[in-house]
Symmetry: C2
Subunit: 439 residues, 2 copies
């Protein structure tokens, strides 16, 4: 009987603030970090499950403590008992009444629960010998519905409605798997757009992105309007009319400010405006969208749970949504969000970058293509070429497209040496710095 | 120069699950707990500031770790530097870009920030020799406006509009202070209504509540409809037509379930229905309110921040709101919420009970009466007669009314012996239990 013998946690941080990589209007000096969790087993082959929460530095220790607080939910239990019913496992963690008080279903505790659930999915798909996207795709519609907690969703999506969506996809799965393996999944890139970059660097990277096959690029905005107008127009000149340009304000504006800021950008022909205001402000997004139409509005990378996504869709507040693999309650809650989006006919452009977010979220987008919507060419997964070398099964990008992962699991496993060297605050990378930037 | 020399934290838990005190439809076995924080100074008179986050057991260690992570914001700084501009201090903590990623402004990290901000207000009002409600009441309208972070609020409340509300109150402050000190502030009681109680115990406690002078009682509902109908009707028979009866579903229902559940309760004549569904579901509350009108709908004790309250008010989703002293970003964010409620003309019935929540929130309601709305007889502060003996300056309830606190500070300080005995897991109360219920 294979059992889970340990839940190990690691506070892993990368001193990215030294190079201004990842800088935006709200986050001037992030140290990209992962609160990393491993579910170890007594299986002779070393079977384990890996998960992480992405943070940007300070507080990664708190996030790691939240992971450690979940130890008693898993240690001593059989792998069969957990991965045999991942829906029940997710409901058990999210439903724990005492932990629920700390959210409910939001913030540090919810992200920790999501990472442990993701680690259990990693374990399950490794044991099945399949990459996670394929593990999900091979489930029946009924099995997928069983993964979803419909609490608070039934006024927008019932289990029967979800089943209908999934059953419609069922006959096409085989052909879609072949298509995905042959074509990959579109990516877009944020690499040119960080606020800390000069115009020249932005243009150079934008040209490079187009040469590399990307059809959409994204720029950070929101610090100074005149800079944004200049940068967006420069980017449009640089990439020409056929490449989509999105912008990301990272929650910088109030509703009125967003409207005033976006009107002078209308002539750039933006593909979308991401996070114009607070990620909690459903009605605010609806008001902005109405005022700046036809400029498309989006949000979601900080969407705390399925209840916020439900409302964004019900209110017609967004033209498209971002999902994030490490923000909500794991694969299960992201399946709920993907099904909601499918029900409302809204496109999903997964958020990635950070540490390991590309590795994780590609699986969800691909599972959505095969088992839910059958759509991929009208959407794209974010890509930032950053920190992938620390992962055992890094993403593979070719001609601006994500190749479908083939290794078993959820691609969250990091190299032992990367973890060891970047442990905060005593890993060699941090102890070598004169002042710990994340402290 | 008085400086802050330490931020000390304590994981304090009470084994309340042993007696089913505090049981409701979502929380069957809470162990009422406090992640407790002390800002110590080098002042010769022992000046310190006290704050806490209320939790219900598991995870209180994570919450305590989040408090500890804020040490570098305060230790080594002068007391003048912090309490001289509490608005700037609150914006600094809430605006830290790296910590913000862990919410933003919600969950474990936000509650920790709120507790440290509250401890700073405690320190400020102690130093001024005033109870917190009076410390706020004695501020000018301009000073109160400076406490508020208007980010994400200006589509509903601008600084100028807030100033207008506060200036209208200014000429009446002196008379209101006298009135408050003479009359106290109405309380309502949840003591009879816990789900774990028998009908007989509920009736006995309801009769006692009326004899004690309470004009409103609250019952927990949401586990079984037939029980709720019976208990509500029994309660109505017991207290007669002149006592208000509220019910609290503690987030138990989906939107459709709430509507179906509440219709058979309509003849009870409920004063309000609290937390019918997810605290995040603004549109859901609006749909429920519309469907069950005229039964009043409320929420707020789990309202994560001012953005959710703004939307509840904008959407006309609630008839009244609860505020909680330890859920949002401290006194500053609660001032924002009180000003929003005043602007929309919605009554506030503060959430209390738990550990120290009565002690804290009474100050906010009283400050609202004196400096903001001038209203108190059409609203009430929750009261549960529970755990007050652990506080140095416990609430005083007389004839169903809160007496205005007179001791300097925010009333959050606990007795040293209470902290020591209830430290988890090694305090004497926990080490004497055969199995640590909170573990």
């Amino acid at each position: 009987m294979v059992t889970i013998t340990a839940l190990d946690t690691f506070d892993v941080r990368f001193p990215t603030s030294l190079a201004h990589d990842g800088s935006d209007a709200m986050n001037p000096d992030p140290d990209y970090s992962a609160a990393y969790v491993v579910l170890r087993t007594n299986s002779p082959d070393g079977l384990a499950g890996y998960g992480l929460v992405f943070t940007i530095g300070r507080g990664n220790d708190v996030q790691t403590a939240a992971l450690a607080a979940l130890e008693h939910f898993v240690v001593g239990r059989t792998v069969d008992g957990i991965v045999g019913d991942l829906g029940a496992f997710a409901r058990e963690l999210n439903g724990d009444s005492q932990l629920r008080w700390l959210g409910p279903e939001k913030g540090v505790m919810h992200m920790a629960i999501g990472a442990v659930i993701n680690a259990a999915w990693d374990l399950a798909s490794r044991r099945a010998g399949k990459p996670l996207w394929r593990f999900i795709a091979d489930m029946t519609p009924e099995q997928i519905v069983d993964q979803v907690d419909f609490r608070y969703l039934t006024d927008a999506l019932t289990p029967a409605q979800a089943l209908e969506i999934l059953r419609a996809a069922e006959p096409h799965k085989r052909e879609r798997i072949a298509q995905l393996e042959a074509e990959g999944y579109p990516a877009y890139t944020t690499s040119p757009g960080w606020l800390g970059y000069s115009d020249e660097k932005m243009q150079r990277l934008a040209r490079q992105a187009v040469e590399d096959g990307f059809r959409t690029i994204k720029l950070k905005v929101g610090l100074r309007l005149e800079d944004d107008i200049r940068r967006c127009r420069l980017a449009r000149e640089t990439v020409g009319p056929d490449i989509a340009i999105a912008v990301d304000a990272n929650q910088r504006w109030d509703v009125g400010t967003a409207i005033d800021w976006l009107r002078p950008l209308e002539d750039v022909g933006l593909a979308w405006v991401e996070e114009p205001t607070s990620p909690d402000d459903v009605l605010g997004h609806a008001a902005i969208r109405h005022a700046v139409s036809p400029t498309p509005i989006s949000t979601g990378e900080h969407g705390q749970n399925r209840v916020i996504f439900k409302q964004l869709l019900q209110a017609g507040a967004v033209d498209l949504i971002q999902i994030d693999a490490a923000r909500v309650g794991g694969v299960n809650e992201n399946l709920a969000i993907l099904l909601l989006a499918a029900r409302f006919g809204v496109r999903v452009f997964p958020h990635a970058g950070g540490v390991g977010l590309c590795e994780l979220v590609q699986h969800l987008a691909m599972a959505d293509f095969v088992a839910i919507t059958g759509r991929k060419e009208d959407r794209a997964i974010e890509f930032v070429d950053h920190l992938h070398e620390h992962f055992v099964d890094p993403v593979r990008i070719e001609h601006g497209r994500y190749r479908a992962p083939t290794a078993p699991g959820f691609s969250a496993q990091m190299h032992e040496s990367s973890i060891r060297d970047h442990l905060f605050p005593h890993g060699i990378v941090w102890s070598a710095l004169p002042l710990a930037a994340g402290g």
